[in-house]
């Protein structure tokens, strides 16, 4: 994103379209070659579904408004098993309903891009922006040992790029990938560069197409013999290790001389960026580490910083979730405090600045 922004000419900038986050994500998926979309209405992601409802049939591709989120993700499982590029989107309560199928897809290694435009929870909650599904996305959604890549855009332009990346990762690693956005990103409009990316299609030698002239194939997650299932789990864990090795993404701002580091992703990171500028003006040596891949988490980057800064401030639109991963990576080498807002509330840069001043005073 930053690279793209840097190399953008003035004319390029004028050519950009103003797009709503939900719609830009949908269009980015279409341009990335998404063959099929399955969804169910929910605020604040409804426009994503509506965009797909209009565009996909126009292009002769598949759009289905399913009977429920369970229906949607299982349709995606079916379509993806045949090798189609599929996207599903929803918001927090709807995503919760997909836990079982996510575990099945991770277990049967079925690619998919799932967009969660997070809203305030728990329960029916509110429709305001939130980041309180972090744990769910990176750790405990479905049952069993599995991980899926989770990418968190901080702007609509970045969301567009990460959608393309997600399709790539999904196919490369045969895995569901989550794009973790929030209501703010979904509802906002920003300039979007319309030169979308359409990732190359790798040959998929596992897809279900009918056993015509080749031995039958099965997409499954059942391995009733524990020995077999353990073997399968070992292979999955090896894949997760490969992803953890190769697919860490993050962005650093003003880290070189930083004494305090804000760690934040998505909308919270943008707020933090606002605070950062003001903090620097005040003479606070503050930097920003923005994880883009939440899983794999930028463990090494956090660990390295933890060894040389005075403290970290984790800012989230939650009661404190990613902060656990930050502390885990920091492993006690520096303190990590937390500032969060919940329920659809978004912290202001001033709030973050105040928290930074407090840290500066206490560390």
């Amino acid at each position: 994103m930053t690279v793209a922004a840097a190399t953008r000419t003035a004319a390029d900038r004028r050519d950009r379209a103003l797009m709503k986050g939900n719609e830009a994500i949908a269009e980015a998926a279409i341009q990335a070659g998404c063959d099929a979309y399955f969804g169910y209405p929910i605020t604040p992601q409804a426009e994503l579904l509506e965009w797909m409802a209009r565009r996909m049939p126009e292009l002769g591709r598949t759009f289905v408004q399913a009977e429920s989120e369970l229906g949607a993700i299982n349709m995606a499982l079916g379509a993806a098993a045949t090798g189609a590029r599929v996207m599903v989107s929803s918001s927090s309560p709807g995503i919760s309903l997909m836990a079982e199928a996510m575990s099945y897809m991770a277990g049967s290694e079925t690619p998919m891009v799932l967009v969660n435009v997070m809203r305030g929870g728990p329960g029916l909650g509110s429709i305001g922006p939130s980041q309180s599904d972090y744990f769910q996305a990176v750790k405990g959604h479905g049952h069993g040992d599995y991980r899926v890549p989770v990418l968190a855009p901080a702007s609509i332009g970045e969301a567009v790029e990460l959608v393309a990346v997600s399709f790539e990762l999904a196919e490369r690693y045969r895995t569901p990938v989550i794009v973790l956005a929030d209501g703010m990103l979904g509802q906002a409009m920003e300039p979007v560069d319309l030169r979308f990316r359409n990732p190359e299609r790798p040959t998929l030698d596992w897809v279900i197409t009918g056993a015509d002239g080749r031995p039958p194939r099965v997409i499954r997650s059942l391995h009733l013999q524990p020995e077999r299932l353990e073997e399968h789990n070992r292979a999955l864990q090896a894949k997760f290790a490969r992803i953890a090795e190769a697919e860490v993404r993050w962005e650093g701002t003003a880290l070189d001389d930083a004494e305090l580091v804000v760690v934040a992703y998505g909308t919270a990171a943008r707020v933090a960026r606002g605070a950062l500028a003001r903090a620097r003006e005040e003479g606070l040596r503050v930097g920003l580490l923005r994880p883009i891949s939440l899983w794999p988490f930028p463990v090494d980057a956090v660990a390295e910083l933890a060894g040389r800064v005075r403290g970290m401030l984790v800012v989230e639109l939650s009661a404190g979730q990613m902060v656990e991963d930050v502390r885990l990576a920091a492993a006690g080498r520096c303190p990590a405090s937390f500032h969060g807002r919940t329920g659809g509330m978004v912290p202001s840069p001033d709030e973050v600045l105040a928290a930074l001043r407090e840290m500066e005073a206490s560390t």
Binding site: D35, A36, F38, T62, V64, A66, E67, S68, L70, G71, A72, N74, M75, A76, L77, G78, A79, A80, A81, T82, A84, V86, E100, A101, Y104, S108, I208, T209, G210, A211, D212, G213, P216, R217, V218, I219, R220, S221, L222
Partner: protein, 254 residues
């Protein structure tokens, strides 16, 4: 008049689509019969090479070991949704679902109703043995009143456990359903009729008439606490609650 003495004439051979592998089904279980009928019809219509089949969670989850087709394993009850996904992106495929009564009529109610409601051109095989075979013989929505199961130890009683759900009758109400019928595996004549129903349900998909479903009344000797033969005899009683026959055939109408 005969010049050369003819050799013995083949009357019946199991289709090659059935794998060599011996099934894990209990002795006398109707799943094996239904598998064979499916294999026969798919062979007859030459559909196997383009069939994408969706397996349930239930005793028949291992269908993929016994029918040499491409299979997708659906989460419990979701086969119709999985099949819808396949249907939409693979217009040339022959799409088949296979589900038990717990799978289809309990947890999967929403998915079957809406796949049928959308009129997805899919052929659904619904094996109704009135019980949760795989998990140890608990009540299914289709269990008969009075029937003892491990979760209705005193027999199913409507005020506690509700009434048997006539799933196919319910689906037959939907305009998206092109064909709906109920057969049984009780004896050779019924097996023959069921085979014809399955064939018709496949044809309905090929002709893009809409959603097609065949409910097959089957047995679960182990879950019912009967010998295989007793269980087949018992199917007569079962068909009093679930009458056999064609419930909908839209081709007939127009």
């Amino acid at each position: 008049m005969t010049v050369a003495a003819p050799g013995p004439r083949l009357v019946y051979a199991a289709p090659e689509l059935l794998t060599e592998r011996s099934t894990h089904y209990c002795p006398g279980c109707g799943h094996g019969i239904v598998h064979r009928l499916l294999a026969e019809v798919l062979t007859e219509l030459d559909l196997a090479p383009r069939t994408i089949a969706v397996a349930p969670v239930g005793c028949a989850v291992f269908a993929y070991d016994y029918l040499a087709l491409d299979w997708i394993e659906a989460p419990h009850g979701r086969a119709p949704a999985v099949a819808t996904g396949v249907r939409r992106v693979r217009p040339d495929a022959f799409v088949l679902t296979y589900q038990g009564d717990g799978d289809l009529a309990a947890i999967g109610t929403a998915e079957i109703v809406h796949a049928a409601g959308r009129g997805e051109p899919i052929t659904a095989i619904f094996v109704n043995n009135g019980i949760y075979g795989m998990t140890g013989g608990q009540m299914a929505p289709t269990t008969l009143l009075g029937q003892k199961t491990t979760s209705t130890p005193a027999g199913r009683e409507a005020s506690q456990a509700g009434y048997p759900i006539p799933m196919t009758e319910m689906l037959a109400v939907l305009p998206g359903v092109a064909y709906a019928a109920r057969g049984s595996v009780a004896d050779p004549p019924n097996i023959g009729k069921t085979r014809a129903m399955i064939r018709r349900a496949c044809q309905a998909q090929l002709d893009r008439e809409g959603f097609a479903i065949v409910e097959v009344l089957s047995n679960c000797p182990v879950g019912w606490g009967m010998t295989p033969h007793e269980s087949m005899e018992h199917l007569r009683e079962v068909s009093e609650t679930y009458p056999l026959g064609i419930l909908v055939d839209r081709r007939m109408k127009g």
